[in-house]
Symmetry: C2
């Protein structure tokens, strides 16, 4: 492609509304333009990258046995009313009336439409399992669109849906798509993690988020520095892999701790580490009171508490309730001498402490030299705390680190949430009707483009991975008015193009400085500059990412380029 024929408007200034690098660079390099808040046009360069990501997604989805289809963006409200989401989805779902005053939703997602199609067309176990997908613009009326492509109101998404007889079949498809997703993001060059996630409002069970590691991410991930393990910090299990401190159990002793409220204050006052104190918090778990004990340096994860009791509601007891039951306030609770109607449970780590301190259930007093089993009993030890940096990875391999992540993909086991509400059932081998088991699987295609830029840029611009780069090679004619430069550049451009290499040729009448700056900004992986040595047939070849450069004779260019592309 000749640059003079392309809509490729670069900017020197950082757009004032662009807070993050991907937004700034994609606008500055002429890849995208805002049409209205949260609505972007992909100009030709941006569209090329978008298509490359789209093609990778399509190839991997096809290879995973999914069928591509396409459903309309306009969806009749009747379908959304069947699942109740017409009311529950909220203002993010854009709604529109047609000329006959019928209500429609603008597709934010397509569970309702695909479930209505499948219930009409599939009625036998013989036609299951089935996985379909589409790549389509989705609409969500974000309250505060921001971060360019990361949180827009119209964005390109790949959404997939699977239908099954049973959970084993769902598991198989889920695993296959897990692999497909891993392949997709790997091929995009991304440093990402498949993260165990909370199923949230979708009503599903198992779910993974695919997170691209990035400082600007809105979610925190706990991941192993050695293995593949990664989870949202809310969801990360902590293994019972502590070692007992060795030493002699000293005699239990009650001490006065006047005005020492927080764990840190008590630890400082008593002169021990935070990890040598025991923290006790009173929770209301549905209709019972539970005293939860952790080490002083750990935090209770109420999702784990909720899951342990399979409870609907988990909340901290009020100070009033605490005083009423325990006869002591928040700062002085402990597991020794707890009333019978209060259950005491403790995090695994508590089991291993030696000569710890804890509140004495008496304001202004603590016990020291507390030892589990000898001094107090618990109903159950369990994993009840948030994971921390430095913890052992739950899979036993490596140490936990934290990172921020950008969610680019999400896979869910939906179960029968939609099929039951919409009456999507199949007849099994015995002729009995059962609701289909469903899964759903999303990738933010345009969001992935932004995530790539977040990971691949430097102070001069973007540094595209070859697989998703808008072009492979950028040929610059430094001075097109000089015949020998223009002619050699054109010859190289034609040669590479005819060899199937994707080449952008800067044939513009611009100063060399402008051309170099634009080229760095755009970030095509390999640059070939035709300049002063054109008359000898020599050009400069520079790799955008590494900055590595060499002078090459024109006759060697195709070899170098081909080798580079083969290695990509």
């Amino acid at each position: 492609m000749k640059q003079s024929n392309m809509l490729l408007p670069t900017l020197r200034e950082i757009p004032s509304d662009a807070e993050i690098k991907s937004h700034q660079l994609l606008v500055r390099a002429g890849f995208i333009r805002q049409v209205a808040s949260g609505l972007y046009s992909f100009l030709p360069m941006g569209k090329r990258v978008l298509r490359k990501v789209e093609d990778i997604v399509r190839e991997e989805m096809d290879a995973a046995g999914a069928n591509e289809m396409i459903m309309p963006a306009l969806q009749p409200s009747e379908l959304w009313k069947e699942t109740g989401r017409w009311d529950t989805f909220g203002p993010e779902l854009m709604r529109i009336h047609d000329r006959h005053e019928r209500e429609f939703a603008l597709g934010a997602t397509h569970e309702e439409v695909i479930t209505s199609i499948v219930r009409d067309e599939i009625n036998s176990y013989k036609k299951l399992p089935l996985t379909v997908y589409q790549i389509q613009s989705k609409f969500r009326d974000e309250k505060r669109p921001r971060f360019g492509l990361l949180r827009g109101r119209e964005f390109l998404m790949k959404d997939a849906y699977s239908f099954h007889e049973n959970f084993e079949s769902l598991d198989e498809t889920y695993d296959r798509l897990y692999t497909a997703y891993s392949n997709i993001f790997r091929r995009c060059g991304l440093n990402f993690r498949a993260v165990i996630a909370d199923s949230g409002a979708m009503g599903g069970k198992d779910t993974h988020e695919f997170m691209v590691l990035s400082e600007i991410g809105e979610d925190t991930i706990a991941y192993s520095d050695t293995s593949e393990f990664a989870a949202n910090i809310e969801m990360a299990p902590v293994a019972d892999s502590y070692t007992k401190q060795t030493g002699e159990e000293k005699a239990l002793e009650k001490v006065s701790t006047p005005n020492q409220k927080t764990m840190q204050e008590v630890a400082d006052y008593l002169g021990h580490d935070l990890s040598e104190g025991l923290k006790a918090l009173m929770f209301k778990v549905d209709d019972r009171f539970v005293l939860v004990v952790t080490r002083g340096d750990h935090e209770v994860n109420d999702i784990k508490l909720k899951n342990l009791y399979n409870a609907s509601i988990v909340e901290l007891a009020s100070e009033e309730e605490t005083l009423n039951i325990m006869k002591a306030g928040f700062g002085s609770l402990g597991p020794i001498n707890v009333p019978n109607d209060v259950e005491v449970i403790a995090d695994y780590a508590v089991k291993y402490v030696l000569n710890a301190s804890c509140g004495a259930n008496e304001d202004g007093h603590h016990y020291i030299n507390v030892n589990p089993n000898r001094d107090f009993q618990v109903k159950e030890y369990a994993d009840l705390r948030f994971i921390q940096e430095g913890d052992q990875s739950p899979d036993g391999q490596g140490t936990i680190k934290f990172a921020k992540g950008i969610e680019v993909g999400h896979i869910f086991k939906l179960g029968t949430f939609y099929s039951e509400k919409m009456n999507a059932s199949y007849l099994d081998q015995n002729g009995r009707a059962n609701p289909m088991i469903m899964g759903c699987y999303g990738i933010g295609v345009s969001r992935t483009v932004a995530a790539v830029v977040e990971q691949f840029h430097d102070e001069n611009g973007m540094t595209w991975p070859t697989n998703v780069a808008p072009f492979h090679v950028h040929v610059l004619a430094l001075n097109v008015k000089k015949d020998e430069q223009r002619e050699l550049a054109e010859k190289i451009y034609e040669t590479l193009k005819n060899a199937g290499v994707e080449v952008l040729y800067d044939d513009r009448q611009e100063r060399a400085g402008v051309k170099f700056a634009d080229s760095d900004l755009i970030g095509i992986p390999l640059r070939i500059t035709v300049g002063k040595r054109a008359d000898e047939g020599y050009v400069e070849c520079k790799f955008r990412r590494t900055g590595e450069q060499q002078d090459l004779h024109e006759s060697d260019i195709l070899n170098v380029v081909t080798k580079f592309l083969d290695e990509k």
Copy 2:
């Protein structure tokens, strides 16, 4: 692809709402499903065809030097208000409010958005010409959606826009896209014509419609049976290529024609052909009265009359006005003795009549043996009539025929309609600002799929041209319970697939009759049936379109398939 894993629901019954073949067959063969009136899902087979058309469009647009981009479907109303189309577009333009009560249009077309982008980014003649395109779902709230994909409310379209310094540059791009469009429809296998069309409401000048010839088309085309010439009947010129009848001019004579009103009645009464009578109609052309004379077998084309006078309004004069001025009613008008304030003009054909008849401007009377020049004068002879079947083609090659057509593409020279209203200007070489000259170019991608089916079907189903067929080869295992059939079918399937052939493999446990019927319905070009002779390694190979069939040994299949695909 294995058919058992595919969402491919075929129907025996014709859907009750489907009036035309493409609608019936695409639904019956499981290519599309209606979600709501005018809104269709493309199931996997339909999506495959859609993608093939899309890919052809993309290749030809790229080859024509256009840049692909993608603009949002949601468009702020402010842009549409700049051109006035927010008010004039009518209820077909779907409108929506966001959560902040801002108004948006759902993209029916993108002139406003692209013009706003280009005016912001391009300001110099150096960056012109520029052609961009996108392939995107469009929304138009048709009053009566019908005919399946032919008139839907959400449909896939390729829309392109070009920007130029001058009309010569526009002409060049227009011609290049004319060629690209011809290539696209030819590659889709279509019998089509590029038709000179009326520019209608878009305010353009030159315009061509690409029409697929089909009985169910809503427009009538006049085309040459020999050359490429084709035009909407309203727009088709008629050449001045008549030959003068030879013979003696007889003496003019006035005759009584009591109660003979129509041209046919007069001709019958006087005993001559319709073509030997002269018809005269009184028109109001803006503020003057014009008597238009044609042969009795011809019809006045008021668009041509309007163009001749460059008039705003052309309408038939009322009977009262006619009586008042001509002293005679509608049935008795003629070009002899016309008042001075009435202009007489005539169609070219009138010049060549000999001894014709015409109204005497006296009720109940006609002249016979009328001869132009001798008996009456006209201000101007011009092309003033509708073209007819049997006329000579205006390009002098062949004879005119009429056909119905489905519009699948449309190219326009827009001029400065949008650029002036939206202030999209560029600086020319002298530093002067001028409005950009624009063109726009559309293809109905989903509509093209329907048009292909209208041309390619028989009584058993669809007969896809190879270039846009969902698969190239359909392998049928007639009885999958028989090991030798299943194994041979799978071997053939794998062999072809590995050779890059697109194969659908019917591995379902269905009766042979069902498989044959489905295969005919789906219409994949080449069918390979593995049946009773599987143990000898023999299969039946059948071409869907021609019905030609032959028994083949498995070792010859790849050769036959490859040869067929090479010839496509």
